[in-house]
């Protein structure tokens, strides 16, 4: 009990004093997570569309596969990416390991299945008449997709929010591929894990609270933005 309250107080202290260390890791977290969410959305939403509307054999298999990939463990993603970008890997020359870029690569792989699955689920439940109407009044494939996105925008927003939540709270990939180097790749979650390992639970809780505060702010912003788009 004690350290929750201590944690809360520490969080307030950290935030209040605008601790430069805190600001830095918040910034790294936000930058990395937003970038990977953005990239994953740009890939995952269209992929979801193609799968949902495509008529190809093995469609059910692809969907089952995507569902399976929802259970992709961060350690597995970390190792996979590691193989390719470590010094001995194929892309070792780019010196990506232990950079923010490495985290982004891993996180994108982690959440593409989330974005795609929920896009499929949102899109395929939509009344087919929307698609047919768009087509018959002369929309091309992209315009039709856009019409559908508009109709299911809340579902897609939910998918993107979930993906963002997943990566900003994610620790395995950030740790393995980012390396938790202070001032470079230390994120809120890797910092939390570190403080936990040190036994400094108060600080860990404080960081957790800060993380939720940041996430709340992002969501409020997103909701406001959605509200505006709706009009």
């Amino acid at each position: 009990m004690d350290f929750l309250i201590d944690g809360l107080l520490s969080a307030l202290l950290l935030i209040w004093s605008l601790d430069p260390g805190l600001i830095e890791i918040v910034w790294v977290s936000l930058k990395v997570s937003s970038t990977s969410t953005l990239i994953a959305s740009l890939v995952g939403v269209p992929a979801g569309f193609l799968i949902a509307f495509g008529e190809f054999s093995g469609k059910r298999f692809v969907i089952t596969l995507l569902n399976t990939l929802l259970a992709l463990p961060t350690v597995a993603v970390g190792l996979l990416v590691y193989t390719f970008i470590c010094r001995r890997g194929i892309f070792g020359g780019f010196d990506l390991l232990y950079t923010q870029k490495a985290i982004i690569i891993g996180q994108v792989i982690l959440i593409i299945p989330i974005v795609a699955t929920f896009t499929i689920s949102a899109v395929s439940r939509l009344d087919d008449r929307y698609r047919k109407t768009a087509l018959t009044v002369g929309a091309n494939a992209i315009q039709t997709a856009w019409v559908i996105v508009r109709e299911v925008r809340f579902g897609i927003a939910a998918a993107i929010i979930a993906a963002f939540g997943r990566v900003i709270a994610e620790v395995g990939i950030s740790m393995m591929l980012g390396g938790n180097a202070k001032g470079f790749t230390r994120t809120m979650t890797t910092a939390m894990a570190l403080e936990y390992d040190k036994g400094l639970f108060e600080l860990s809780v404080a960081l957790g609270i800060a993380l939720l505060a940041v996430s709340f702010a992002v969501n409020v912003f997103f909701h406001y933005f959605q509200g505006r788009v709706r009009e």
């Binding site: 929307y130 768009a134 009044v137 002369g138």
Partner: protein
């Protein structure tokens, strides 16, 4: 011919719901499609709108064979527009809905606004321009959907029961619009309806669809029933509504029958007729139909009879009169 369809079939999970040997739509004409529920009207219109592909068979659009697998459908779709039976509007404002076809055709903004206004006026929905389209009543929705279709300025417009939910004033208005765009812009029209009178009023040609086939029969006086054998060993069709008709047919069990109103005979008294298939009824409606008069006779159920004008005059029939009807064997079609 705008459309030529040959041996078009459509099968849903083993059930063939469309099976058209031949159907064509003449350029610049209005074709009315009649047919009971489930006849395949909507299925056919979706194929003609290039929105779904037939299971087999060929379709020619302006003499060009349509390749349903190819990527060229988009260009064809731009020339044809379908107003669906339960139309949906995009969840944005009413004017945005009507504006949509113009916007994707990259019409200049000022012109778009003007056209949207005109079209909304046409269907009596100008006041609703800013209303959220997905909250309109059914009839309002249907009318906006028609305005949106007109904004496509198509070569062909396909309308699936365009006036089903529409109020009387707008039914008349929509019929007028259809006639107008057909006459002044030469747009070919195909529409479906259950209203025989609407079809004959509006269409240059009427096709009756039954169980996915073009039926010779006329979409009138249709009854479900079953064929039995009466005491005297003759075949008798007992309709669900109580009508009993002697028939000659090798089918038995449940059937549908239609009685051709042009062959049914009408008279002031029943003596003229044989006892078979003769019914007494009351004349409840008379309608003028280009050279003929349609008489609706209540014989327990309403039966429709078509009488050449001269014959009608000579009979001197008045509304509300008691009359006798005789349905000769050749007027009865079993299918």
């Amino acid at each position: 011919m705008v459309y030529e369809l040959r041996n078009i079939t459509k099968t849903f999970e083993q059930r063939t719901v469309l099976n058209l040997e031949r159907l064509s739509v003449k350029k610049g004409k209005i074709l009315g499609l009649l047919g009971p529920n489930g006849a395949g009207k909507t299925t056919l219109l979706e194929i003609m709108a290039f929105l779904s592909s037939p299971t087999s068979g060929g379709m020619w659009f302006n003499q060009q064979k349509v390749d349903f697998t190819g990527g060229k459908l988009k260009d064809l779709r731009r020339r044809v527009v379908l107003v669906q039976q339960d139309s949906i509007l995009f969840s944005t404002s009413v004017s945005n809905n009507v504006d949509f076809p113009l916007r994707i055709r990259k019409a200049p903004k000022a012109k778009r606004e003007q056209i949207v206004g005109e079209l909304l006026d046409m269907v009596g929905m100008r006041d609703f321009g800013h209303a959220p389209a997905h909250k309109l009543s059914s009839g309002e929705t249907q009318r906006v959907a028609i305005a949106r279709a007109l904004a496509c300025f198509p070569e062909v417009i396909l309308l699936d029961e365009p006036t089903a939910n529409v109020d009387v004033e707008n039914q008349i208005a929509i019929e007028r619009i259809i006639r107008e765009i057909n006459r002044t812009k030469g747009i070919s029209v195909v529409f479906t309806t259950h209203n025989m009178i609407q079809a004959s009023r509006l269409a240059d040609e009427t096709v009756f669809l039954y169980e996915g086939k073009v039926a010779r029969s006329i979409y009138e006086n249709i009854f479900s029933g079953r064929i039995q054998t009466d005491e005297s060993g003759r075949q008798l069709c007992v309709a669900q509504n109580g009508l009993r008709l002697h028939v000659q047919h090798d089918k038995s069990g449940p059937v549908r029958i239609s009685i051709d109103p042009a062959i049914v005979e009408i008279s002031r008294n029943g003596n003229e007729f044989s006892e078979d298939n003769t019914f007494k009824g009351r004349l409840i409606q008379l309608t003028d139909e280009q050279g003929r008069v349609r008489a609706l006779v209540d014989v327990g159920v309403p039966l429709s009879v078509l009488i050449p004008k001269e014959v009608f005059r000579s009979l001197g029939l008045g509304i509300g009169d008691d009359v006798w009807l005789n349905c000769p064997a050749k007027s009865i079609e079993i299918f």
